[in-house]
Symmetry: C2
Subunit: 502 residues, 2 copies
């Protein structure tokens, strides 16, 4: 993709005239993006000294600074290293109608990490997949991603580095490594080219900008960006929900990417399982002690643990979580209750609020309700179109796969009770003053849709029981049994994982 540096034949004066004409166009387009509520990500990568910073400054000069954010991407700092590598990109996602402009991106991050030897070849390959997955996920959610690569020749780079080093105001921006990189231009060239090809997708194609000449580069950037913004506004205006262009992507109703484990339907779960008080006390002590030890080992080896709780209303999630939590060192976990999304959450990709809630490696993140609301309450209550929700099975498998890549153990529970048991518990809540806050009209309304939910749960369990993040259905009519099964499942999974480590 980098084989040719073409410069436009345009004169400087002509270029400047065209750029002046574009000032109002970009202001109008940015307003259009705002009203169409399209979130935009522009990434600017390229060679050192290719002029990324000054091109960004020119690009945003006429835009409203309240609606964009420019973020330089550097080597990850210590806290960033304790999260999945894509975490710092996810957390920065713009809201609908706003611009995120990245000076450097996941692309440079990956190329540089590999060239510096801080990731292996396999990790490099895995990151390419991660990039394509993230870009596709964002695109499918209506994000417009514009990726620019500023390309200069070896001679031009050398000239610029020398000039920067000679000027007292800019010399601090250049160091010896930059000159070494210039000497290794050919080697880096090959890696850039390869990586550009591997990440050049329909969802987020690359735009190579010939940047030896600054003004024609600026013109090319402006043309590329305005064209992309225009395309997005037009597509949105045509009323495509979630801005899915006609030709891409085909909406997939079933995931195909990861092998799935065979699962059972809820109707076939044995709901009679129970424990005596004595068995419960004995096993509770045993597994809680064991879990505490395992947490210590995970902490020391920096293994992140994600425990995701879903289940019927009044299924006993709270009490179950409590038994898990009380076994743990409280400094090493956090429980994240998931309620209806807030405006700032609704204005971003639905996985954003889960990415931003991840605790550090070595810690437990326990979700009380999860991202699976996407395929249960959201389509059933009409918050998300069914077609869009259907795309989520794959997206969640991808999300959990990325958590696993980070090193996480991902444990998912569906706490199952039958309809009679739920009725009994609802009534008990209504009749117990201290529990009345736990029961609302909404719970009764949801109950009326039991069959719809059961169908959705069966489908969810079928389509998202991957080998790396399988569902565990917990027989919950007997709370004691359910608690022990959750504790034991967590212990087993951690033991298995720690065993693999040794």
């Amino acid at each position: 993709m980098l084989d040719l540096i073409e410069q436009t034949n345009i004169t400087k004066a002509e270029a400047e005239e065209e750029l002046t004409g574009m000032q109002n166009e970009i202001i109008d387009l940015a307003n259009g993006i705002k009203s169409a509520k399209i979130p935009v990500i522009i990434t600017i990568d390229g060679w050192g000294a290719a002029g990324k910073g000054s091109q960004i400054a020119k690009l945003i000069k006429y835009m409203d600074p309240r609606f964009y954010n420019v973020e330089p991407i550097r080597i990850p700092n210590a806290p960033e290293k304790r999260k999945p590598w894509m975490h710092r990109y996810w957390t920065k996602l713009p809201k609908q109608g706003e611009f995120l402009i990245l000076d450097g991106s996941w692309f440079s991050d990956t190329v540089k990490s590999y060239m510096h030897g801080s990731i292996t070849k396999d990790q490099y390959k895995a990151r390419i997949d991660d990039i394509n997955v993230m870009e596709r996920q964002l695109h499918d959610d209506g994000y417009l991603i514009i990726k620019l690569f500023l390309h200069i020749t070896q001679e031009e780079q050398k000239k610029r580095l020398k000039k920067l080093a000679a000027d007292e105001y800019t010399s601090w921006r250049v160091d010896e490594q930059d000159f070494i990189n210039n000497k290794n231009y050919d080697k880096i060239f090959k890696r850039y080219e390869k990586t550009l090809e591997l990440t050049n997708t329909d969802a987020a194609p690359w735009h190579i900008i010939a940047a030896n000449d600054r003004i024609s580069a600026q013109l090319e950037i402006m043309r590329t960006v305005t064209e992309a913004l225009k395309g997005a506004c037009d597509a949105k205006e045509k009323g495509v929900p979630y801005f899915i262009p006609a030709e891409y992507p085909p909406i997939k109703s079933v995931p195909t990417k990861y092998p799935l484990i065979k699962t059972k339907k809820l109707a076939s779960v044995d709901m009679d399982k129970s424990l005596t008080d004595e068995e419960y006390r004995r096993k509770l002590k045993k597994y809680q002690n064991r879990l505490f030890e395992l947490q210590n080992m995970c902490y020391q080896r920096k293994i992140p643990v994600i425990v995701a709780y879903e289940g019927w209303d009044a299924g006993g999630k709270g009490g179950n979580i409590k038994r898990v939590a009380s076994a743990l060192d409280p400094r090493g976990y956090e429980v994240k209750p998931i309620a209806a999304p807030e405006p700032s959450e609704l204005a971003r990709h639905y996985l954003w609020r889960f990415w931003t809630r991840l605790e550090n490696d070595g810690h437990f993140t326990i979700f009380d309700r999860t991202w699976y609301g996407r395929v249960m309450v959201e389509p059933i209550e009409g918050f998300t179109p069914k077609k869009r929700a259907d795309m989520a099975y794959d997206e969640m498998n991808e999300f959990e796969y990325q958590l696993t890549e980070w090193g996480a153990v991902v444990i998912k529970f569906w706490i199952n009770i039958d309809k009679d048991e739920q009725y009994r518990r609802f009534k008990e809540r209504e009749n117990t003053p201290s529990k009345q806050w736990k029961i609302t009209d909404e719970d009764w309304r949801n109950r009326e849709k039991w069959d719809q939910y059961e169908k959705a749960v069966d489908r969810m369990i079928k389509l998202t029981s991957t080998e790396f993040a399988p569902w565990t259905v917990i027989e919950g009519n007997d709370k004691k049994y359910a608690r022990i099964k959750a504790l034991k499942t967590i212990c087993d999974r951690l033991e298995k994982r720690l065993g693999e480590e040794l």
Copy 2:
């Protein structure tokens, strides 16, 4: 405060019996806190090896883990060092009805930093003030703060350290420094005692827990916490708005703490100031270039810059901010538009959403509307009781003082236009299709309350024009004049600050 370690005369069996009886009490109280929407902060400080971790585990054992968060406080990491020192505490604030439990706190943070020589005596003293200010601010907003100090003797500490070091599972928790600290017990004792005294306030009194004996310490903690929770629930039930106990604090209607600059009323501002197009172009170029240079210097010296914009609707804030922003390196600033608070923001202290929006040192944070909404729109529209809003003048001065302590230059603009000019601009917006999104019925409604707002603005400017963070009223009828005045004011303030540095 630490002169005596008293152990209760209770036997182990009696203590355990009392503790068992308290299990249900703490569950009920936590539910009460949840329904009363009281945010609770419990800090646990004390000697090394005093048992902070295990006491926290016992304290929360019966609480619902969805509603508390335990955070260990360690030496600040690199990103934390780029914010004000209190930033990491503010960002962790619990929501109403939830618990934040800190293992270590701003107290230990300060004592240890001083003992290790990482802050000077003056900085230590300043931090004591900061602590008392923050605790009082939180208390005044309805936070319940329970501060526990676990006290053990030198002999007991030595015994525990030896035991920890001898056990293979716990030896990693002890290092040489712990034994050195044990030898220096007397010296540390004096500093703890002094600091405890200096931070023992009505808003957040200390509870010293004699912790040589673990079980009686646990009992004492449980008694202290349950009593405090009970008191808070009772006070709230009596209907005190914002949980201000009768005896504390007296609501202050004017700040007394910082000397104020003499200011003028809006009515006396000369609204005829203007610039010709030619003057405007020349000065715009001059000050934008100058600002770019100054930003560079601030970046290199890690000076944070806070620019706060307030002004009449249609006053021209957006265009003004644009001229400032477009002069800056886009990687070094962020504009924060402030809209109505979201649920998660309303559930915390009103300054929380401003603390959490601060950029790193060396960067510009530009607020488009600010914390001053507290004394303008909030009381006028009835979102905040007037009495509560009146307390905010002092709180904002304190907030800005803490920003200044961090090293920030705090610049505040009121963009002033007269009533006729606003009418003209509203009409223009209504008649220009591309500007219609900028004008709403709310703008017209606000306009009807012009006199009320003018009075509030006059009062705000009078009461919050401190020497360290003065208001600049900008004559805004002529947008060109207004933009140049804002740019020049920022340049002057930065030059002054940089001059002081040299």
